[in-house]
Point group: C2
Chain length 457, copies 2
Amino acid sequence: MAIADAITALKAALGDKISTSPSDTALHGQSESHFAPMNPDAVAYPISTADVAKIVRICADHHCPVIGFGVGTSLEGQTSAKRGGVTVDFRDMAALVETAEADMFARVQPGITREGLNTELRHSGLMFPVDPGANATLGGMASTRASGTTAVRYGTMRDNVLGLEIVTADGTIMRTGTQARKSAAGYDLTGLFVGAEGTLGLITELTLRLHGQPEATAAAVCAFDDMEAAVAAVTATIQCGVPMARIEFVDGATALAFNAFADAKMPEKPHLLVEFHGSETAVKEQSETFGDIVSEYGGADFQWTLQAEDRNRLWAMRHNAYYAILASRPGARALVTDLCVPMSKLAAAVEETRADIAASPIPGPILGHVGDGNFHAILLMDPDSAAEKEAAMALSARMVERALSMGGTVTGEHGVGLGKLEYMEAEHGAAWGMMGQIKRALDPHNIMNPGKLVRLN
Amino acid sequence: MAIADAITALKAALGDKISTSPSDTALHGQSESHFAPMNPDAVAYPISTADVAKIVRICADHHCPVIGFGVGTSLEGQTSAKRGGVTVDFRDMAALVETAEADMFARVQPGITREGLNTELRHSGLMFPVDPGANATLGGMASTRASGTTAVRYGTMRDNVLGLEIVTADGTIMRTGTQARKSAAGYDLTGLFVGAEGTLGLITELTLRLHGQPEATAAAVCAFDDMEAAVAAVTATIQCGVPMARIEFVDGATALAFNAFADAKMPEKPHLLVEFHGSETAVKEQSETFGDIVSEYGGADFQWTLQAEDRNRLWAMRHNAYYAILASRPGARALVTDLCVPMSKLAAAVEETRADIAASPIPGPILGHVGDGNFHAILLMDPDSAAEKEAAMALSARMVERALSMGGTVTGEHGVGLGKLEYMEAEHGAAWGMMGQIKRALDPHNIMNPGKLVRLN
């Protein structure tokens, strides 16, 4: 049996860095998503790139699946061990290796989390801004091409990874990119591995672009009578060139969930939550310009603040939105959708989705990173009700079709995993075939996270 | 004979869109670079994606090389027909297909130039900021991953192409990316084709990210006693988070060339040329902050202006730097180098390069996009002197070694082509092998721009 042989060889080579305990394998077969558990046969805890290379070489010899694992916050089943095999947990490779302050980059191991990294950077004057909400690992964030609340200003993981160290499918250790800020030297392999969800190799080190901590930060909240007005205000703000650091939309249902979960005292209306980064003069000017724009679109209760305390409360609330919404229906399990459409289609996409959810038997508050045209409905279903699960899946499928018909994408930031696999051909056409060609060329035995992102044969 | 058979078939299928006239083939075998001419056997002038697909299918049937061509401004021999074949000139595919103002993107055919595009966008309030100096085509700029003076603010072509239409090596028409501003749906094929120099397929349409024309623009010039002080001022400015739109370095020799070519009246000293984009308040504040920083580093004659006329004169001069420097040694031919290093290594890289050139028999003014750590020496050699050519090649090779030893790249923005091919293994190691694997998988008969960027076998 290929997998059993691989595990025997792994234990011989790596000793107690390999676990087959049922609690370990069960823990690594689940995630925060709605997928049924799919457990690996073993979990490896490497402490070095050399360990990872050894693990992958042994698995390659036995054609045994290898799945990367950070902290398990992915939402599309990326870490499920669909065909069993060995999950590589980067728990013990979580160091900040180097902070190059003058060059504004950091080298990190894949298991460090974004909060862990920013805590270590605290006194450097620098920060790593990509913020998907969850305190995910950098290896996982790169693998799913994560983004989140600050992408409108600082870009996604695609824009903030300068280079990688990779263990390829045959166990070779390889470096992509350089420490320079740009390069035109050949195919962009860094970009190929960011978003590849571990299907082409495992990331063992990342060189990350850092940004200066802003001199001043202002945050603001504003309520609108309807979602169209809120979205129109966002579009107008972007077109005016106001450089927002964050611009988040939450609907009335989400505002109610915030009130219950965090005593937010928000009216049951759509809101925009924004943040500005820059010099004190600049953020004041930006806040005032934004205030003028929202008042044109009927925005009410506009308040902005330079106080760190108010700001932190605002974003803690936003980061806990998922939990606040889950708590709004005790016992429910969530299916989190993840569309991204061109800005001109955003109001229609949100409104059609809202009406569709309203006509269904389940609740589904909507919120999103509207500066990017990206939004999520958090569909809340009773895990014991087949009818509710079916309703959620049908809503999700219609949202995907809606995004594609509007020129958008089936996933703005959560990735493909298992959950979006069936839509890849509809989104990409012939380009999905090319993804399969690349996968076959770089992982001919299909051992790297098999069953995700691409289909072979 | 495979190529002759392909041309016969192409003429039968496409009639007078195929030229074998000696003047046409000679024109397409040259470029602005120092490489000896390598002419194609025929030149195709497609007017549609369907034409391009037909051309590539016929060439694939006969294993005939296919080389894409814009306006021939590439600097590393990317358009040389190293193995003969058919050059596809996109002269007749140069339309702005769509401007989506609310969504801030444009769809263009590959043959439109950046100045042509910005002229068409003039009244939209939007612009395409990537500016490599030459009035290159967008297809060429994407293929070489061009950047230039504005990359410090707006990024390179990597950051500003949202999607592509590609004709693959077997003649399939394929789309990558969507019209949404981000996506996490699978391998980043857009990023793979940007910078691939036509070795994986031909770009037949681009979806480009547009940016708002800034409300106000300020430009400034400042002289320094030495290059180290200028570079230190740049680093300090970036670390203070001042959002510069352009920050260019020119050395004393370049300043003299400007004086002769454009009556610039600059002292023979290193200079920084900068530009700020934003609201009027913001650019004033940024200019003043920059003025404070440069005065700390001994900057002299600091002047800033909001006048479009002064600004245009400044950047016209910078854009003509190549010609100004060429004119400083009548009859000379130029070898333009293109290093990019981490910012902390920039002063040492420039100074070592300057000293190396000073000890050589040829002149080589230095200038660069110092906000990115990218600089060029324009090595001026007598085309009839083997000794001078050898000196230039040796200087260039030492610059490349210097960049690699400093953690940088052998090409910041000009690409690989023929000129940097021999350094790819030194820069990438095992990753260059992976580039070859991708090339073999996507172009198994090696017909797309063969002999560039990767080596097969």
